[in-house]
């Protein structure tokens, strides 16, 4: 395992106390804390490099543009993108998926076509497809999950029989932690001619991602879930698909020539980056990637799997606790309920001990219906969490149990 205590020292916020206790931050699937190096990169950018990009004729603007494009190259390398121009910076995963639905989807999906999603998709990889299908008169087909929280591969096969135009799924489930067999799912979808959209919000921060090995077509990610700033993220796509797509947002930067009544468009990726981009976000994200590379995505994945395994084992010892999701093929996300104690009550009780967890539907209401629970509590780990955090979590749950009469106070 990683030396979590040593890594934690790199994160100023984690030195804080909450409600009089050391902060135990276990809501990393929602967002992650930022190391000093990311904070420094952002400050340094504004202190020395800030200017509008792709416009200025002066040296400062050129350096700003270079910093922005270097961040793009850094991200392209990190996920083994097809090419740097196949990386479109967005506000995050949600905007990236909306871009695919709004530009590729609206151009290619017609009445009677089908689009496939899964019952474990985050609302951000569901609602844009619902909107597209409603607009086009297309059918949205939701693939079922198995009882232990995996994509039901036989139902997936049935969904593919309709030869969908687009197949979308998460690489890692934010609510269950399931690591889906993304390369296999992509291969099966390609065999029927579908375009494959992977929600990478929960995979990019936590395991080694190689989009070319996955052989998907579109891959969406969020910077803030991988130590980078809020409002940073990207769509990583096959350049030839991006090239053939109509633009998404209109405005400056995305154009080539503008006449009174029409325009021609810039080359990719700029065609999809209308307006002044989030340069600070890109620079901060590049610093976050440097940090993650320094630790090593493989070691991070191994560390989180060990934490999840330890947490599942500890939670299983508490009578009344149910853990959701598969036993193996999982990332550092542990979703659970405790008897009839509502997850919000669990979260409130843990918060008094400085423990931050998520309680709710995790933006996955169709999944919650299938699990037959209104909500779950979720602890999600990252590289700066250690086994000590698992101990504190278990201790907090015993307190919750005492308050609700499950264990003697």
């Amino acid at each position: 395992m990683l030396d979590a205590a040593r890594l934690r020292a790199d994160f100023p916020l984690l030195r804080q106390r909450e409600n009089g206790h050391p902060l135990v931050y276990l809501d990393n699937a929602a967002t992650t804390q930022k190391p000093q190096s990311v904070l420094d990169a952002i400050t340094e950018y504004y202190r020395t490099t800030n200017a509008n990009v792709h416009r200025g004729a002066y040296d400062l603007a050129i350096r700003a543009t270079e910093a922005y494009e270097a961040a793009r190259a850094k991200l392209a390398g990190f996920v083994n993108a097809w090419a740097p121009e196949g990386v479109v910076f967005t506000r995050g995963t949600t905007e990236a998926i909306n871009l695919v639905a709004g530009a590729y989807g609206r151009a290619h999906v017609r009445a009677g076509d089908s689009v496939v999603v899964t019952a474990m998709d985050h609302h951000s990889n569901l609602v844009p497809w619902q909107m597209l299908c409603q607009e086009k008169g297309a059918t949205l087909r939701m693939v079922e999950i198995t009882e232990d929280g995996r994509i039901d591969l036989s139902d997936y096969g049935r969904a593919l029989e309709r030869r969908p135009k687009i197949v979308a799924f998460p690489y890692v489930s934010n609510a269950l932690g399931t690591v889906n067999p993304a390369a296999q799912l992509a291969r099966l979808a390609h065999a029927v001619g579908a375009v494959v959209v992977v929600d990478g919000a929960q995979s990019t921060p936590h395991l080694r991602v190689d989009v070319q090995a996955l052989d998907c077509d579109f891959y969406a990610l969020s910077g803030h879930k991988m130590l980078g700033p809020m409002g940073s993220g990207a769509l990583v796509a096959r350049p030839e698909l991006l090239d053939a797509m109509p633009p998404y947002h209109g405005g400056g930067e995305m154009i080539s020539r503008v006449w009174d009544d029409h325009s021609t468009y810039n080359t990719i990726p700029h065609k999809f980056e209308a307006g002044t981009p989030n340069v600070e976000g890109a620079v901060g994200l590049a610093a976050a990637i440097a940090y993650l590379e320094g630790v090593g995505p493989e070691r991070i994945a191994e560390h989180e799997q060990a934490l999840a395994a330890a947490a599942i084992e500890r939670l299983a010892q508490i009578e009344g606790v149910t853990v959701y999701g598969p036993r193996d093929h999982r990332a550092g996300v542990v979703s659970f309920t405790y008897g009839d104690i509502h997850p919000h009550d669990i979260a409130t009780i843990l918060d008094q001990d400085g423990i931050c967890i998520r309680a709710g539907h995790h933006c996955a209401q169709p999944l919650m219906r299938r699990l037959n629970v209104p909500a779950t509590a979720r602890a999600s780990f990252y590289l700066y969490n250690g086994l000590d955090d698992v101990d504190v979590l278990a201790g907090g749950l015993v307190k919750a149990g005492a308050l609700f009469g499950y264990v003697p106070a």
């Binding site: 009839d340 104690i341 509502h342 997850p343 919000h344 009550d345 409130t348 009780i349 008094q352 001990d353 309680a359 709710g360 539907h361 209401q365 919650m368 209104p374 909500a375 101990d391 504190v392 278990a394 201790g395 907090g396 015993v398 307190k399 005492a402 308050l403 609700f404 009469g405 106070a409």
Partner: protein, 147 residues
């Protein structure tokens, strides 16, 4: 492991009466002859309540609810439906104001006997993110009356 007893604020929040209403909610169900009904949910946390009233003249003869949510929402709904029986609509709206005042830390409201068992929820005011849980059924009530 930290084995110190739960702090007093938490014990006040999760007192016996609240857990009793959570586990054995009063007036849970639907009315065949409802005159007012409303569904309300909190999209942030997914809590849901369907509130039904049978109003005769301007008197609430009966109130029932179904829904799901945390102990605070459920207990607040259960206690509210008990309190509303045979109250006039102006009286019910005044109670809603009193409840809201108590949730925002008004100590006089927290001592107001008119709120009945709901006073057990006074501790919620110390947990700002949970105030919306206690007020969800009351917001449903005011919506139902206005509708």
């Amino acid at each position: 492991m930290d084995t110190s007893p739960p702090d007093p604020q938490l014990s006040a929040l999760y007192q016996e009466l609240i857990l009793d209403h959570y586990r054995r909610p009063r007036n849970k169900g639907t009315l065949d002859d409802a005159t007012h009904s409303v569904s309300l949910n909190n999209p942030l946390c997914g809590d849901e309540i369907d509130l039904q009233l049978r109003v005769d003249g301007d008197v609430i003869k009966e109130a029932r609810f179904i829904g799901r949510g945390c102990s605070i929402t459920q207990a607040a709904a259960s206690m509210m439906t008990q309190l509303l029986k045979d109250r006039s609509i102006p009286h019910a709206l005044a109670l809603a104001d009193r409840m809201s005042a108590m949730m925002h830390g008004d100590e006089a409201a927290a001592r107001d006997k008119a709120l009945g068992e709901l006073r057990a929820l006074a501790g919620v005011s110390k947990f700002p993110v949970r105030v919306k849980c206690a007020l969800l059924p009351w917001n449903a009530l005011t919506d139902a009356i206005k509708a």
